[in-house]
């Protein structure tokens, strides 16, 4: 191996006073060579993005480089004058970001934004030459119809197309190093697959060095030549991808690998039990009126949905964004009213329920939402948020409060947590509180709407385990909404795949993974990151699950 493209040596980044730790990044050394993809993997707060930003000199003002060096092409980037650093940005070193939605200027045409990148570093470039080059780039990144697309605005593009534009912009000046900061995290799984393939092929074609930052071990498995595992600002382990993934030396790496969902034993659907929830011909179209005369916008969220959830069963509804899966969950609880069709809960029509009947029904059917930050009232103590439920059903205040404390302990928190406010808890802890809130009403049906999607993998694994455990204990039935097939596989007996408001496939988990009946399910399965690796790995005995109920969640 020749001289590496990028070398980071003993980098220490100091956080401002009052942060949870003194150093965002503590003594990190790594290198990226030409023509290789180095994955920087870690959970949230591991400092991986900080490292990326340090390279380009884009650190927020509060964070200070305490010591260390970042060498690129023989120069220490940390000591480079501002003008030279600027000349490097976007030309020799380019970067793409996580949120293509916000990373592009919403008010400028995408073509102009790419052209700007070219002209910034080559002021002499003519108009014609530049626009030609932009179209070339658009073609290279696989954007359809570049000629018209260059004059589109970001909001007119899909998420994947935006990310392709970002990549085109990054490649505009033929960088030797590309830094990709979670470039696929905000994308649907099939789109993620395409973008990963694109980065891979472009890298290979151009011989670029790529520093790829991700939290997803699956993605690492798919793309990395070498891996650097980061935890709380420190390098845990680094080495060639194959070695690190197959023979992890460190416990943490192993934990990360084990936490990846969808590798447990498959469950078998219990066909024989009676249905608790039955949905027939459910219909919902969202119509947004824009005026008296303009045609209303119609979005079909549910079209003739039929499904059954048996007692004690876990049914996962899987689909990409916009498939209508969350609307389905809300329609069951009548948080959104359906247009047509029937929802039967234990034989009773939910849609026909009056106010009081609905109240009683909701007691039996509880929900846990995706965003643990939005789903707790920031101005109420956690204990109150839980105890209001039983109180609404006639439980005396003191008893309700006792129940709240009891449930907090049950989901792995202390009973003192009841007296604290939501902002004092981490995301995983909040999700535990939400589960406690839902279960305090002793429901028979629990709806989990992307309940683990916002969490780090290790926490995700813990929450999934907790849910599984509680489900057994309380004989719950669960409607589990997720975009992640791996999670569905982890927890579900039956899986329903939705796309654009329609059910594409309804199948036992085992059957679906073994032999998907629909093309769409097949493409979803194929797109799961790290699929090949884990399939190979699952041939070997799986590492043990971490214990549930840990306070660290």
């Amino acid at each position: 191996m020749t001289e590496p493209l990028l070398t980071i040596e003993n980098l220490i980044l100091a956080l401002p006073q009052g942060a949870d730790r003194p150093h965002a990044v503590d003594d990190v050394s790594l290198s990226v060579a030409a023509n290789e993809i180095v994955c920087l993997v870690g959970e949230s707060g591991s400092g991986k993005s900080m490292i990326a930003h340090t390279i380009l000199g884009l650190l927020p003002a509060k964070v200070r480089v305490e010591s260390g060096a970042v060498r690129f092409g023989g120069r220490d980037l940390l000591a480079l004058p501002a003008a030279e650093m600027r000349a490097l940005r976007g030309s020799d070193i380019a970067m793409i970001f996580q949120e293509p939605q916000t990373a592009l200027n919403p008010l400028k045409r995408v073509g102009a934004q790419v052209a700007e990148a070219i002209r910034t570093h080559d002021p002499a470039a003519g108009r014609e030459a530049t626009s030609l080059r932009v179209r070339e780039l658009f073609e290279q990144v696989g954007l359809p119809d570049p000629r018209t697309l260059v004059s589109a605005y970001p909001f007119q593009l899909s998420g994947g197309q935006r990310q392709r534009v970002m990549i085109a912009m990054a490649l505009a000046n033929n960088p030797s190093l590309l830094i990709a900061d979670e470039p696929t995290t905000a994308l649907d799984v099939t789109t993620q697959r395409q973008i990963l393939d694109l980065i891979r092929s472009l890298q290979a074609a151009r011989g670029m060095g790529v520093l790829f930052i991700t939290h997803d071990i699956g993605v690492v498995a798919d793309i990395a030549d070498r891996v650097v595992v980061l935890r709380r600002g420190r390098v845990v382990e680094q080495g060639p991808a194959r070695t690190v993934l197959n023979q992890p030396r460190e416990d943490y790496t192993r934990q990360l690998l084990d936490a990846v969902p969808g590798r447990g034993t498959l469950r078998r659907a219990k066909e024989d039990a009676e249905p608790l929830l039955e949905i027939r011909g459910l219909q919902k179209t969202f119509i947004t009126r824009q005026g008296f005369f303009s045609p209303p916008r119609r979005v079909v969220a549910a079209e003739a949905l039929d499904l059954r959830l048996h007692r004690g069963e876990t049914l996962a509804v899987v689909g990409e964004s916009g498939s209508g899966k969350s609307t389905l969950a809300r329609m069951v609880l009548r948080l959104i009213e359906a247009d047509d069709g029937d929802i039967l809960f234990a034989g009773q029509s939910v849609r026909a329920m009056g106010r009081e009947a609905l109240r009683q029904f909701r007691r039996c059917a509880q929900i846990v939402f995706q965003d643990p930050y939005a789903s707790l009232d920031p101005r109420r103590k956690v204990g109150e948020s839980i105890s209001f439920g039983p109180m609404a059903h006639g439980v005396p205040r003191a008893e309700a409060e006792r129940l709240a404390r009891q449930w907090l302990e049950r989901v792995g928190l202390t009973s003192q947590a009841a007296d604290r406010f939501p902002h004092e808890f981490s995301g995983g802890q909040r999700q535990r509180i939400c589960i406690a809130r839902a279960l305090a009403l002793e429901p028979s049906l629990l709806i989990a709407d992307e309940a683990v999607s916002a969490l780090d993998v290790s926490v995700q694994a813990q929450i999934l385990a907790l849910l599984a455990e509680l489900k057994e204990e309380m004989n719950l039935s669960m409607l589990f909404i997720t975009h992640d097939l791996r999670v569905a596989r982890e927890i579900a007996d039956t899986i329903v795949v939705m796309r654009a408001g329609k059910i594409v496939e309804q199948n036992g988990a085992e059957a679906l993974f073994a032999a998907p009946r629909s093309d769409y399910a097949r493409s979803l399965l194929a797109a799961v990151p790290g699929k090949d690796f884990f399939e190979r790995a699952s041939a070997r005995p799986a590492a043990s699950m971490p214990a549930s109920g840990a306070q660290s969640g």
Binding site: R89, T102, N105, P106, L107, K108, T120, M166, G291, F293
Partner: protein
Amino acid sequence: MMHALRLLLGRVTGIAFAILAIATINFVLVHSAPGDPALVIAGQSGATDAKFIEQVRADYGLDRPYLVQLGTYLGKVVQLDLGYSYRQRRAVSELILERLGPTLLLTLSAFVLSLVGGVLFGALAGRRHGSWSDLTISMMALLFYATPVFWLGLMLVLVFSIQLEWLPAFGYSNMRSGTFGTFDQAVDVARHLVLPAVTLSAIYMAVYTRLMRSSLIEVQHEDHVRTARAKGLTEAAILRHHMLRNAAVPVITFAGLQAGALIGGAVVVETVFAWPGLGRLTFEAVTARDYPVLLGLFLVTSILVIAVNLLTDLLHRLIDPRVVTR
């Protein structure tokens, strides 16, 4: 194209409805006032003659039932006939039309001045967030925001007209300039415009400055600015191409909402500066209880506000492509 047409059609009917509703509200409001307009005319003519008063009443339909008056009024509004001023003895539309120009000139220049000034100062302050210039601009903005408009007008007259004798203190033009070439007159009107426009725009400039400042500070932390930085753009280029326009969007949206207040402010400013516009006509009509003029004025000013709203909408569309299809 069809889409745009439909949008326009929807807009127009919406405006028509709004105008009719405003017309009705105005009519009810103005006519619930105490004070007999017939008496005012009579009194001001030095009349001591009951017959004369009856005559005035008959002349202007004031003796007919309330609902008939309203019906007649609405019917006329639909035909764009705003009635006849008994005090001024002229058609209301004529009165309003001849005052419309100066008011448009004043409010539009104040609008543009406040917007441009606000965006400029706000950008300056927001860019150097926390610096001395930021502190100074923010403080000035706060002070101007808290200054009563009429008071500011007086101070400006005191300083620029009376002390320094730079600018005329009042009026629309030096009447003799009207006989000369158009350029002279334009210069003359422009000189008369300076103080009232500055006075009227001050408070809004302060508002927009504050808004622009916070908007810019917010934009500074947005992802696409980081993207621009990662592209290697200079800070100046980032400011110009990726921050100013984005930060100005909420300011412009807000400015549209302020159009009504701007015309309200014009009443005070036009009175202080003897600016012969709709604002002054409004005050004169209120004190003279000139019903037809008041009704016409409220209608026209409301239409003006709607027009300004449309204008800002257009501006918004121009700088924010997302609005068009949304």
